[in-house]
Symmetry: C2
Subunit: 214 residues, 2 copies
Amino acid sequence: MGELPLTLEGEGRQRILAAAEKLFSDKAFDAVSMNAIALQAGISKANIYHYFPNKDALYLAVLRAASRNLQKLLNDAVDAHGTVVEVLRHFARCHLQALLDRPELVRLVWREILEKGAPRAREFAEQGFADVFSALVAVLESGQARGELRADFAPALVATLMLGANVFFFQSRDILRHYPAVGFADDPAGYDAGIVEILLRGLIPESSADTVRA
Amino acid sequence: MGELPLTLEGEGRQRILAAAEKLFSDKAFDAVSMNAIALQAGISKANIYHYFPNKDALYLAVLRAASRNLQKLLNDAVDAHGTVVEVLRHFARCHLQALLDRPELVRLVWREILEKGAPRAREFAEQGFADVFSALVAVLESGQARGELRADFAPALVATLMLGANVFFFQSRDILRHYPAVGFADDPAGYDAGIVEILLRGLIPESSADTVRA
DNA sequence: CCCTATATTGACCGATTGGTCGGGCGCCGC
DNA sequence: GCGGCGCCCGACCAATCGGTCAATATAGGG
């Protein structure tokens, strides 16, 4: 018992998980049949039940793995060094790149968050959200403490703004692409560079910035 | 033929549409059965087929109506007067309020946009997006032309940023609410006020704003 | 070689799915 | 009174759903 198998452990299990991940990321839970998963994995439907007790458990396992992988990806975007401004630039770019690199994971997890009627694993999907959000808030707070950023804004609000900018870009990229006025749909790095610059410097010309305060 | 009925026209039809709208906004297409819709509407399943040829047509009709209503709501947020800054403040507040007032419509339309596997009526759902986005871009452009806003940013980028801030807030409000650092989850007006202020004035203290340009 | 444990399968189950059909109910013009 | 027509329903259909089961293939250890 417990001896390490020389042949790939759980090779069949991984095949099933990969197939289910692909299908569940494209279509909703009820729109994906166990037959379709078996077909995609190249095995029989009954064989799935050798590894997973039922459809919900399989879905949960897929979401669990996706959530873990996504969380790891996104956390990599947070660890950076240098001035706060540099960290923010790095975060924005890496965060969006992570989303775009693994769109299946993002769609999978985000759909679970949006679904109002069937919270199968909502708390679990929210976990990835937590770490990134908290880390970003911490960065902003330290920026305020060091005097690199204004002290009169709520860090959580700016964190929401930045995350929202990236998530919204990810979600609506296909729509934005066929707008002539949008030149950044296929240039996520440029998008984030612009976003961060605007956030840092604002939209008001400096000469008239004081007129806003009234 | 064509005589106006004194009794409510399409009263049954409206009942079905309302029931379907409620269910389709909570759960995905395949997760909502015709039986459930009939039950919710208080009629028989067979009766639905007297008004709609099949499930897809019903869903399409629901999405059509929702998209139209949402579009109307959101367009109201755009028409405003005064300085560009005032218009932006008004837009942000009204736009988010519209989303929060009719969450069923938003979820319905937005799910259709996110679904990668079954574009039942994507183009149709995107229609609402178009008007709001264009209108917001126009506002920003006029602000630049009048010199009220800086001239060195892309209007479409800022429009994306603002819409994303609201949509993301709408989507993740339930998650944000149980973060202690977030005080604005139940104060959308305050959230948007903060967003707009940051966008206008930036995060950098004015004294050190020039250090960013390097 | 056999024995055991894991993998894998086709056939099958009851329940539910989207959709159909024939007929009943009620109202309005004749 | 009496057709006709829009509205509405219970019963039914084939197909598919998630899930079960008994039977096989496939290994590796003794």
